[in-house]
C-alpha cells in the first residue's frame, strides 16, 4: 500500500463544535431523549482523534453523543465550529469526508425488505462500486461477519445481532479509513458484544480509526482514549486507566440506616476523608482503602451495615467530574 498523505493528519479534529435543537421538538433517539425549550445539545466540543486509535465518547443518554454522531456522519453541519476528517472539512468537503467514512447507525440503516446481499450491493453502488470488484468485496465482508449463509435472507428476518453484523459489513464495503459507530453494543448479547470488539480491534490492526459513542462503561474501558460527555460538554478526556487514576486509590462505599448522619459524623472524625452522600450511600475515595475499613467500622459502631472497597470505575470518574451518575437517576444530588 502506498502511504497516504492523509496519514499524517489527525483522523478527526473538532474545534468549538456547537449545536442546539429548535424549541419545538428535541432529539428522538432510540432512547427517547426529550427536552422542552431550545436546548444546547453540544456546547463547544474540542477533540482530536489520532489515526489508528479507538476513541470513545462515553456519557449518559441525552448527553449529546447522538447529536455529535449525526454531525460526524455528515447528516447535519454543526452550528458553530469546524470538524475535519483527515484534513477534509466536514461541511465544505462533505463528499471527500463521506468517502473516507464508514457509518454504523444505532438504528440499522438496512432496508428490511431487501436481502443481506441486496443491501450490500445497494450500499456498494452508492459508494460507486460495481461489477466484480463489488461482488468480491461483498463476499469478503459476508465471510468476515459470518453472513454468507444468510445472503438471501431478508434483513427483517435477521436477529438484532445479525443485523448489527450486516450493518457493520455494509459500512466496511468501501474500506473506510474512519469507522463511526453509534452505541454499537446496545441490544447485543454478551457473546455478540465480544465479537464486535474482536472485530473493532482487528480493524484497528488494519489501520482503521474507530470512533464510537457508548453509555456502557465496560465499553469505554476498551477504548484507547475516551471523552466523557455530559450535557454537551467534554468533562474529561484520556486513556481509561489514566482517567481512573485521578480518583487516587479506591472507592469506598458505606451503607447504613442513616447515610446523611453517617457522613456528617465521619467527616467530623476524619476530615481528610471528605465523605459524600450519593444516592443513599456514603462514598469516599482513598488510597490503600482496605486499611481504613476496620477503623471506620470501629469508629462508628452499629452505624455501618456494609462496606465495599472497589477499584474506581469510569462511572466513578464521571461522578467525580460531574456529580451525576452515568446510569439511572437523572440527578444524583
Amino acid at each position: 500500500m502506498t502511504p497516504d498523505p492523509a496519514d499524517a493528519l489527525p483522523a478527526v479534529e473538532a474545534r468549538g463544535v456547537e449545536y442546539s435543537y429548535p424549541a419545538r421538538r428535541i432529539g428522538r433517539g432510540a432512547t427517547g431523549d426529550r427536552a422542552v425549550g431550545p436546548a444546547k445539545a453540544l456546547a463547544g466540543l474540542e477533540f482530536r482523534v489520532a489515526p489508528g486509535e479507538i476513541y470513545g465518547f462515553l456519557g449518559p443518554n441525552g448527553g449529546g453523543k447522538t447529536t455529535l454522531f449525526r454531525i460526524l456522519a455528515t447528516l447535519a453541519p454543526p452550528e458553530r465550529g469546524t470538524i475535519q476528517v483527515f484534513g477534509a472539512d466536514l461541511h465544505g468537503q462533505a463528499r471527500e469526508v463521506r468517502r473516507r467514512l464508514g457509518v454504523v447507525f444505532q438504528n440499522p440503516s438496512l432496508d428490511l425488505q431487501l436481502t443481506v446481499a441486496e443491501n450490500l450491493t445497494h450500499q456498494g453502488q452508492l459508494y460507486g462500486l460495481s461489477g466484480r470488484d463489488l461482488a468480491a468485496r461483498i463476499e469478503r465482508q459476508m465471510g468476515r461477519f459470518r453472513l454468507t449463509d444468510r445472503r438471501d435472507q431478508r434483513a427483517k428476518e435477521l436477529s438484532g445481532g445479525l443485523r448489527r453484523r450486516a450493518e457493520i459489513a455494509k459500512a466496511l464495503l468501501h474500506e473506510p479509513r474512519l469507522l463511526l459507530l453509534d452505541e454499537p453494543s446496545t441490544g447485543l448479547d454478551p457473546a455478540a458484544r465480544r465479537d464486535l470488539w474482536d472485530t473493532l480491534q482487528e480493524l484497528q490492526g488494519e489501520g482503521v480509526t474507530v470512533l464510537l459513542t457508548t453509555h456502557f462503561m465496560e465499553e469505554g474501558d476498551r477504548c484507547d482514549r475516551l471523552a466523557l460527555i455530559d450535557r454537551g460538554r467534554m468533562v474529561a478526556e484520556g486513556a481509561p486507566a489514566a482517567l481512573k487514576e485521578e480518583i487516587g486509590g479506591d472507592v469506598v462505599t458505606l451503607t447504613g440506616p442513616d447515610p446523611t448522619a453517617l457522613a456528617r459524623d465521619l467527616a467530623a472524625r476524619f476530615p481528610e476523608l471528605a465523605p459524600e452522600v450519593r444516592e443513599g450511600t456514603v462514598r469516599l475515595e482513598r488510597e490503600r482503602a482496605h486499611e481504613w475499613v476496620a477503623r471506620l467500622v470501629e469508629a462508628l459502631p452499629g452505624r455501618i451495615n456494609a462496606v465495599t472497597v472497589a477499584r474506581p470505575t469510569l462511572e466513578d470518574v464521571f461522578l467525580h467530574r460531574t456529580g451525576n451518575r452515568l446510569y439511572g437517576g437523572e440527578e444524583a444530588a
Binding site: R25, R28, L75, A76, R98, P108, Q113, H122, Q123, G128
Partner: protein
C-alpha cells in the same frame, strides 16, 4: 449513474415484495370509477359531446387518480425510510443530493406509470376504442404526469415527519388538485370562480392532455384550455419545478 440506478431499482423491488401495496394503489380508484361512473351515468350530459357517458368521461380522471395515488404511496416510503433508518445511510454516502432525489422520484414515477398504464388497458370497458398510437401517446402523457406527481409527493414527504402528516397534505392539497382538474366534472358549465381555479390547477393540463390522446383535436376540453403542446409543456414544467422543490427541501438539513 450507479447510485440513481440502484435507488430506482430498490423502489421497484420493494414494491413488488409488498403485495398489499400493489392491490392498494389501483384498488380504490377502480372502485371509485365503477361506482361513481355507473351511478352518475344516468344524469350526466357533457356539453358539446352528449354521446360521452359518465363512465367514459370519468376514465381519464381515474387514470390520473391511479397515477396520483401510486405516486403518493411510493413517496410515503420516504417517511418509512427515515423512520426505519435506511435514509440516514443513503445521506451519509458520497452521493449528490440530486442523485438521491432523482433515484427516488424516478423509482416512484416508474411504479406510478406502470399502474396508470395498466389501468389504461381497461379503456374498452369505458367504451373507449384506443388504437396503438393513441395508447402510446397516452402512456407518454402518463410518464410526464407520473414524474410530476411523484416529485410533488417527494417534496411533501420529505418535509413532514409522519405518515399522518402526509395524509393531511394528501387530503388538503393533492386530492383537491385532482378534483379541480376536470377529472370529475368538465370546465364548461362550472361556476366562474370554480372554472378560474380549474384553469390555474396544473393537473388540469395533465387530464386535458390525456383526453387529447384519446379523442384527438376534437376533445371537448372546455374554453381556455390551450392545445396539446402547451398542455404538455405545462406538465413538463410542473415536473421541473417540483424537482427543484425536492432539491430545495433536501438542502434544509437539520437533525430531528
Amino acid at each position: 449513474m450507479t447510485a440513481v440506478w440502484s435507488l430506482w431499482r430498490r423502489e421497484l423491488v420493494r414494491f413488488f415484495r409488498q403485495p398489499s401495496r400493489v392491490a392498494g394503489a389501483a384498488g380504490s380508484p377502480l372502485l371509485f370509477w365503477l361506482f361513481i361512473g355507473s351511478g352518475l351515468s344516468g344524469s350526466f350530459r357533457l356539453p358539446g359531446a352528449e354521446n360521452v357517458g359518465y363512465l367514459e368521461y370519468f376514465f381519464p380522471g381515474t387514470v390520473t387518480l391511479v397515477v396520483l395515488f401510486a405516486a403518493i404511496f411510493s413517496t410515503i416510503s420516504i417517511i418509512e425510510d427515515r423512520r426505519e433508518g435506511f435514509l440516514q445511510g443513503v445521506l451519509a454516502a458520497p452521493v449528490p443530493r440530486a442523485a438521491i432525489a432523482a433515484g427516488k422520484v424516478l423509482g416512484g414515477a416508474t411504479l406510478a406509470w406502470l399502474q396508470g398504464a395498466a389501468f389504461l388497458l381497461l379503456a374498452p370497458v369505458a367504451g373507449l376504442r384506443l388504437d396503438a398510437p393513441a395508447l402510446l401517446k397516452a402512456a407518454g402523457v402518463l410518464a410526464l404526469l407520473a414524474v410530476a406527481l411523484t416529485a410533488i409527493g417527494f417534496a411533501f414527504a420529505w418535509s413532514v415527519d409522519s405518515v399522518q402528516g402526509f395524509h393531511a397534505v394528501m387530503n388538503l392539497i393533492l386530492v383537491p388538485l385532482w378534483l379541480l382538474s376536470g377529472a370529475v366534472f368538465p370546465l364548461t358549465g362550472a361556476p366562474a370562480w370554480l372554472a378560474a381555479l380549474m384553469r390555474i390547477d396544473p393537473l388540469t393540463y395533465g387530464v386535458a392532455a390525456l383526453r387529447w390522446t384519446f379523442y384527438g383535436p376534437t376533445a371537448a376540453l372546455g374554453e381556455g384550455i390551450p392545445g396539446p403542446a402547451a398542455a404538455l409543456a405545462i406538465l413538463a414544467a410542473l415536473g421541473g419545478v417540483a424537482f427543484a422543490a425536492d432539491l430545495w427541501v433536501m438542502r434544509r438539513g437539520r437533525l430531528e
